[in-house]
């Protein structure tokens, strides 16, 4: 059995519940956690030339901020509770990034929180949990 659990987080309450759930799983099964924060990004947008010029720096700033504000505090918390964990920040579409990461590290399971959006909203815009369940090639746990 693979020893990695991936947790997708986004700074919401639901994500914290997902993380806690995954942490307890990891502790009892002696697995390690890989926390991933996805910055929504599409290669098919229209930008001004100066936005493009600054993009490289902005990207690094985005990654750094996500590490400092979202990933690091959780890693510290997990380390205190004795769970081995790592963090990653990636750009892209959340569901497909998490799926690819799962393949990359051959994760046992991908755990994510549910946004709790209304039915109408998820019909209109889709939900990360919904799409991930559809496309993933390994077990997905959605924590309400």
């Amino acid at each position: 059995m693979s020893s990695t659990i991936i947790v997708g987080i986004d700074g919401s309450e639901g994500a914290l519940r997902a993380l806690d759930f995954a942490a307890s799983q990891a502790r009892s099964n002696k697995q390690r956690l890989l926390i991933c924060y996805v910055i929504e990004w599409s290669p098919y947008t229209f930008n001004t030339p100066s936005e493009n010029e600054q993009r490289h720096r902005r990207r690094e700033e985005e990654i750094e901020r996500a590490h400092n504000d979202l990933i690091e505090p959780q890693l510290t918390r997990l380390a205190q509770s004795g769970v081995e964990a790592e963090g990653q920040v990636r750009h892209g579409q959340a569901a497909s990034v998490l799926k690819d990461l799962g393949t990359e590290v051959d994760a046992a399971v991908i755990v994510i929180g549910r946004k709790g959006t209304s039915r109408l909203a998820s019909v209109m815009f889709g939900s990360v949990a919904g799409s991930l369940v559809q496309i993933a090639d390994r077990p997905v746990t959605v924590v309400p």
């Binding site: 910055i39 098919y44 229209f46 993009r55 690819d100």
Partner: protein, 509 residues
């Protein structure tokens, strides 16, 4: 951000307080005063750049021969790269060979879209109308041919734009002809170093001029004209208020380029592609509505291209009009796009060149052709006195009566996005000459805004003359440099093409 807003506010207040006295001094006829002031200078610049020689009784400007000759040479030298690489170019735009590690950086698609928003604009609407009204339907044929050839020029300059770009200490990148002329030529041979520097400086000066002319005054002028036309022509309340339109546009442009108010840029960059799609779809609908006229329109385009009737200079005159407007619209060989394309994140400069092939294709072969077909099919070009954007507006209006209103919105937005792009091109050239400090940059930006007002206040002839001249002048230093750097591009292309054909390039997913 707060500091930025304060600075913007201060600069804009300064700008308006500088221009308002002008407005107050002359409530009526300020347009003419500004026009009279600028006209002699504008005309002499135009005469210099468009030095012509006579072929079959037509005065052919040397710069046009220069552009087309280069495009033909590049097309042959790279064995019809414009046609044979379209498949690969499409795969690159789609992101097939993207490095997964660079997700979140500027993609090929984004670089192309940004460059396109600088070229898709009034050239596609107003310029084409001028070509068809002066050159007849046959101008369309030469325009398409010039568009196809221009793809090769774009390929060369955009490859070089990426290869010789400069990565700044803050992680941003600066690229374009200034850099490939100075660095590229120096790399070719030490004896070319000073030539490269001279060419780079000449290019930068012309680029600044072009950013005030075609990238700014022409846009302001034509979009204002369209606004006047739909609000009632000569009787419109706006008719003699070019300065007012100029001030308003200058204020909004100022908020984006000085204030860095990203929301305006963001909104525009979302709406502009949408407007382009509406324009193209409507054009196609009008063409299909008149499907019975298509065969005769196509016949008119072909006969008009080779044996026109009643056009000054015969076939050569038609060719001249078509080539000229195509070159002005897609800017191939001018060097401007290389500045925008340089922002892409790739380790293979040639990939951006291959992506850039699509720029003249979309701009000229698709969008300009649709404008021309609508004008030819609706038969709007003969007899009427309408010029520029008004002609296109009349052509669309003859099929769909309310479309001129939509077109007006499109024209104003296209003008706005082209101004934003050109203010960037001009700024890069300005920074190349005078350094990167914020005082230097803001000086340029305030000047740019002043030209928005001037452009809206001037009569069409002197604006078009000046804007054509400055943009075309960029082609001289740029293309001289391209000739010297052709072997560099060939080496890059061959290496990449070999790996592509052998299947060594693995698709990202």
């Amino acid at each position: 951000m707060n500091r930025f807003n304060q600075l913007t506010l201060r600069l804009l207040v300064l700008f308006i307080s500088l221009t308002m006295p002008l407005v107050a001094l002359a409530d009526v006829g300020l347009d003419e005063k500004i026009d009279n002031l600028i006209k002699p200078a504008a005309d002499s610049v135009a005469n210099l750049v468009f030095t012509s020689f006579n072929v079959a009784g037509v005065a052919i400007p040397f710069v046009l021969v220069w552009l087309i000759l280069a495009a033909v040479i590049f097309t042959i030298y790279f064995r019809f790269i414009n046609l044979r690489a379209m498949g690969l170019g499409f795969k690159l735009i789609r992101g097939d060979f993207d490095d997964p590690a660079s997700v979140g950086e500027v993609s090929h698609f984004q670089a192309l879209a940004t460059a396109l928003s600088g070229t898709v604009g009034l050239g596609n609407i107003a310029g084409v109308a001028i070509a068809v009204s002066l050159g007849g339907p046959g101008a369309t044929f030469w325009m398409i041919l010039a568009g196809l050839l221009g793809m090769s020029s774009k390929f060369v300059e955009c490859t070089l734009g990426v290869k010789y770009r400069q990565e700044n200490a803050d992680g941003s990148v600066s690229g374009g002809p200034m850099y490939y002329l100075s660095r590229g030529l120096a790399e070719r041979s030490p004896s070319l170093k000073s030539l490269g520097k001279v060419l780079a400086v000449i290019f930068a000066i012309c680029c600044i001029g072009g950013s005030f002319g075609g990238g700014n005054m022409f846009q302001a002028n034509q979009s204002f004209l369209q606004l006047v036309t739909v609000t009632g022509g000569e009787n419109s309340w706006l008719a003699d208020k070019g300065w007012l339109y100029g001030l308003i546009v200058a204020f909004i442009v100022g908020m984006v380029i000085i204030g860095g108010i990203r929301s305006i840029a963001k909104v525009t960059s979302k709406i502009v592609p949408f407007m382009a799609v509406i324009y193209v779809v409507t054009g196609l609908v009008i063409i299909l509505m008149n499907y019975s006229a298509i065969p005769s329109a196509v016949a008119a385009i072909f006969t008009g291209a080779f044996s026109p009737e009643g056009i000054a200079g015969g076939a050569i005159g038609v060719l001249f009009q078509g080539f000229k407007r195509a070159a002005f619209s897609n800017e191939a060989g001018i060097g401007s796009a290389a500045i925008a394309h340089a922002a892409v994140r790739t380790n293979e400069p040639v990939t951006e060149g291959l992506v850039a092939l699509y720029e003249p294709f979309i701009d000229t072969v698709v969008i300009c052709t649709i404008t021309a077909l609508v004008i030819v099919i609706t038969g709007t070009y003969g007899g009427s006195n309408a010029d520029g954007v008004a002609l296109t507006s009349a052509a669309f209006g003859s099929a769909i009566s309310w479309f001129p209103l939509v077109l007006t919105v499109a024209v104003v937005l296209f003008a706005f996005s082209t101004m934003i792009s050109w203010s960037y091109y001009g700024l890069k050239a300005w920074n190349y000459l005078f350094g990167e400090s914020s005082v230097v940059s803001n000086t340029y930006k305030v000047l740019f805004l002043a030209f928005v007002v001037i452009g809206s206040s001037m009569k069409l002839d002197s604006v078009i003359g000046f804007s054509d001249a400055m943009i075309f002048a960029m082609a001289f230093p740029n293309i001289i440099g391209l000739y010297f750097l052709l072997p560099v591009v060939k080496k890059e292309l061959n290496a990449y093409w070999k790996r592509y054909k052998s299947g060594e390039l693995t698709p990202a997913k």
